[in-house]
């Protein structure tokens, strides 16, 4: 289908974008890669009066290291998560997640900021951000604040970004010595959104795993931190028993949605299978 009519402006700064939003009385949508916005317009799921293009704003681009944190501009394209050496070294779960996100041409346009702001519960990057304990830099008319990923994802398609605010960047703490990661998903076809997915990171010491961080996706309204499974693994070496205990703990961590095509019991089962696979294949990154 064709989109309904709308006006379009290309913002040159975040302040510019926010004032255009205010002037439109909120009847506006920010546009980054546009690969969720444009289909939603063509499908007539929304019909804003104005699209505000963020792609030209310098503050939203660039990838740089500051004091042990990698700052990734919101306009960074998915393909850069695949190819950029700084992201691979300092935000490795984004690199591990990227091949699962959509298809090559979509990865050329879709942005990391757009994916996080969109907050599709079946999306890969949001879960990777939670597992890496990333922080999201949000600009509002009051100033700039940083929100931990755990508090950022509020509900289905809903984040801590208030109407008119702009996600400027994603900050990821650099891996520490002994860090291991794992990422995988189960999808019907390559490039599809996940039926269930898992992003895991931990620090492997001689005595066992520490700082275990597990985010599962497509199992609820937003990425779910599996706290009981994390606790089940903490201080232990990865072996069949530890994996089985983590898998068992998911019963308490998850409350998956139930639908006739995909019953909750099946999602829980797949989450266990997948977590087992990921834990058995953790990879050292530092």
């Amino acid at each position: 289908m064709k989109s309904p009519a709308f006006e379009y402006v290309r913002a040159e700064s975040v302040a510019d974008a926010m004032s255009a939003y205010a002037e439109a009385d909120g009847d506006a949508v920010y546009l980054s890669g546009g690969h969720s916005v444009v289909p939603s317009l063509a499908l007539r799921l929304q019909a804003p009066a104005l699209l505000i293009d963020l792609s030209n704003i310098a503050a939203l681009s660039g990838i740089s290291l500051h004091d042990g944190w990698l700052r990734i501009g919101a306009m960074t394209r998915h393909v850069q998560a695949l190819k950029d050496p700084l992201i691979a070294a300092h935000a490795p779960l984004f690199t591990a997640a990227a091949p699962f996100v959509a298809h090559p041409a979509i990865r050329n346009r879709g942005t990391l900021g757009g994916s996080l702001a969109h907050a599709d519960p079946a999306s890969e990057f949001p879960a990777a951000a939670v597992a890496m304990r990333a922080e999201l830099e949000i600009a509002s008319s009051q100033g700039i604040r940083r929100v931990p990923a755990d508090d950022f994802f509020v509900d289905i398609y809903e984040t801590a970004i208030e109407p008119g605010e702009v996600l400027q960047a994603i900050h990821v703490p650099s891996p520490v010595a002994g860090q291991v990661i794992g990422f995988d998903e189960i999808a019907r076809r390559r490039g599809d959104y996940a039926m269930v997915g898992a992003a895991v990171q931990a620090v492997s010491r001689g005595s066992g795993l520490e700082d275990v961080s597990i985010a599962l996706f497509s199992v609820g309204n937003h990425p779910v931190r599996a706290r009981k499974a994390q606790a089940a693994l903490t201080g232990r070496m990865i072996d069949a028993d530890a994996i089985a205990d983590a898998q068992a703990a998911l019963e308490d961590d998850l409350d998956p949605p139930d639908d006739p095509q995909f019953p909750a019991s099946m999602r829980l089962h797949l989450a266990r299978v997948l977590l087992g696979r990921v834990l058995a294949n953790l990879e050292a990154v530092a």
Binding site: P4, Y8, A42, P104, A105
Partner: protein
């Protein structure tokens, strides 16, 4: 309000006045009559509308014409005229990699983009590159064969030239 945009399409400067909602695909097809860019789903799912935008493959149905202002577009017509995909067109023909042909332009675009960055792709990598291209006729196997054959020809030619 309509917007004036200028872009380069297949090497030629183009100046057009468009509504903001006009997709790059509609600009190419309706204003410029470059109908080799096909429209199947208009939502990013089928891959029939792929073009090169500033050197990377994108879905022309998901890019607004106003977003492409100032950029370089290469369509299947441009690739055809340049001769850059002549070998792919031949292997598609040889291997029966098209039937109705609706998907073929998008397939060629994905194949062109893949081979530009990877001269020796495995069958698995070819399938991955085509994961966003639907074909309702061939069953894909022949398309993978054709791209694989074109890659082999290019490698052999490069070896021969050494």
């Amino acid at each position: 309000m309509k917007a004036d945009i200028t872009l380069t399409v297949n090497g030629e400067a183009v100046r057009e006045t468009v509504e903001p909602r006009t997709s790059l695909a509609d600009l190419l097809r309706d204003n410029l009559r470059l109908t080799g860019t096909h429209l199947g789903c208009e939502m990013g799912a089928c891959g029939a509308c792929l073009v090169m935008l500033d050197g990377v493959a994108v879905h022309a149905c998901l890019v607004l014409a106003v977003q492409a202002d100032g950029q370089k577009v290469e369509t299947i017509e441009g690739l055809n005229d340049s001769g850059l995909i002549k070998d792919l067109q031949e292997t598609f023909h040889d291997r029966n990699a098209l039937q109705c042909g609706f998907c073929t332009n998008g397939m060629l675009m994905s194949a062109y983009a893949l081979l530009a960055g990877n001269s020796d792709p495995s069958r698995d990598e070819i399938r991955d590159a085509l994961s966003g291209n639907y074909c309702r006729c061939t069953g894909y196997e022949a398309i993978v064969d054709a791209i694989s054959a074109a890659a082999d020809h290019r490698l052999n030619k490069a070896k021969g030239a050494q």
